[in-house]
Symmetry: C2
Subunit: 281 residues, 2 copies
């Protein structure tokens, strides 16, 4: 089993999420580091982590990343805000390789983007009540308003990414988020991997002066930086070129067929090589 | 371990659900059979079952009902539409006691209520795509339209039981449900234990001539019938009298505190005696 703390330049990258949401992080990684091989683990039989306790999430996440390492992962990306928020320390302690979560890169990007030092973070109940983003942003001298938006995930999964109901829900959530102390906030952090799919809608609903920081995007940039991958200028960036991707392999704890079907929407690329995994614990 | 197929008149009743939704079934049971003792198992660490495969649901459900029997349950109520739809046979095969699911009682009540022999069933994705209600109703010579309503559960859990967004979602779902062949349907079956909480809203949105059959209610009546419990006329029925209940004991696989908090809303009675259970498999 590999256990080097300094991964090779184009290593086998293990990406972990509770379900298909982390595929938005995988997509950002593939766009930025197309030469790498990717192993993606979706713990679909036990999702969502958002409603579970820290102990349960840590237990599940450690099992999953061990599996990824057994499959040869040389670098681990925890593409799940809940698992990062509740269990990153346990995962790091259990892993013999470098581990990158989604919270710190998102917080770095938000702190860099906010001139007012005032940021709104949205996410699932578990991510928000863990206060992981609050801690990360306050450590960067940024004031934070956290707002749980539990309906966004089911709305995205229903496919209502451009739907009047989703817009109405977003208006309710964001008007609550950008009120009182957070009226001056100039950055909105998407602290859930499902949210990139409604980014255009959130862009319309959020106050105009607000910059949107997508933690999936920020995490991919952070991984590229750590691997010293040269990034092409964004205008020429490779998109929708799966042929450029060396290898994508998927593991799901529930039905491989379901994962394939739903996953394609989140990845924006064909999801083909899916293996069903039964984690007995 | 008790294994009599003919339970005593006021036995220890084990009620199983993936989460807190089955508490609407427990409530209906408590109202009709206040002399019984109740053991409720909510598999909250592994919910929702609605997005999982039949094999996964059967594996989880069998583990949970075995636990209830170890605790002394003499009669088992599967208060989870998904588990009933996907795993009732496996549960019955594994249990040494009488097992009652929610689908057959709901189908019986719907068949009795429908003069047009034409019924609409709403539920989660997994319940609907299992076609358990379709099979049960067609066996009773009733035509069925099945409609998955995946947003209702998160809307109920958000607490938006009387909310314009929920009303709009209900209008979309029900207008799709009562179209074409189902235009003449005169019964709406609530095939999910979360839905009783939005019954008043669904009553307003559903076509006026449509009768609503609540499978939680139908299941409680079926259990009472099997136990030969005399039912008081509905006008004098005991409600909100927890003192009349002999014993309520709860088991949850995730945080007991979370279960207590959310559960009280679903049960409409205080949820006090909650024990955290760790099912290691």
């Amino acid at each position: 089993m590999p256990n080097s703390r300094r991964p090779p330049r184009s290593p086998k990258i293990g990406v972990f999420d509770s379900g298909v949401g982390g595929l938005t992080v995988l997509r950002a990684l593939v766009d930025r580091i197309p030469d790498a091989s990717y192993l993606y683990f979706g713990d679909t039989a036990r999702l969502p982590y958002g409603s579970k306790s820290a102990a349960t999430v840590a237990h599940y996440a450690v099992g999953a990343v061990r599996y990824l390492q057994d499959q040869g992962a040389e670098l681990l990306v925890i593409a799940c805000n809940t698992a990062t928020a509740l269990a990153l320390d346990e995962i790091k302690a259990a892993a013999g390789v470098e581990v990158i979560g989604v919270v710190e890169p998102g917080a770095d990007a938000a702190a860099a983007a906010s001139r007012k030092r005032n940021v709104v973070v949205i996410g699932t109940d578990a991510t928000i009540s863990s206060h992981a983003y609050r801690r990360a942003l306050e450590a960067r001298n940024v004031a934070v308003r956290e707002k749980a938006c539990p309906l966004f995930v089911p709305l995205v999964e229903e496919g209502w990414v451009e739907h009047p109901v989703t817009e109405q829900v977003a208006e309710i959530y964001l008007s609550e988020a950008f009120s009182d102390d957070a009226r001056d906030a100039d950055v909105l952090v998407l602290g859930c991997t499902h949210y990139p799919l409604i980014k255009p809608l959130l862009r319309r609903v959020a106050p105009e002066h607000v910059a949107i920081v997508d933690s999936a995007e920020s995490t991919a940039l952070d991984v590229a930086r750590q691997l010293h991958v040269e990034l092409p200028p964004s205008s020429t960036r490779t998109k929708n070129e799966p042929s450029a991707v060396r290898q994508l392999k998927f593991f799901a704890t529930d039905s491989a067929e379901k994962f394939r079907k739903m996953g394609t929407r989140f990845l924006g690329l064909p999801v083909e090589d899916v293996v069903h995994v039964d984690l007995k614990e």
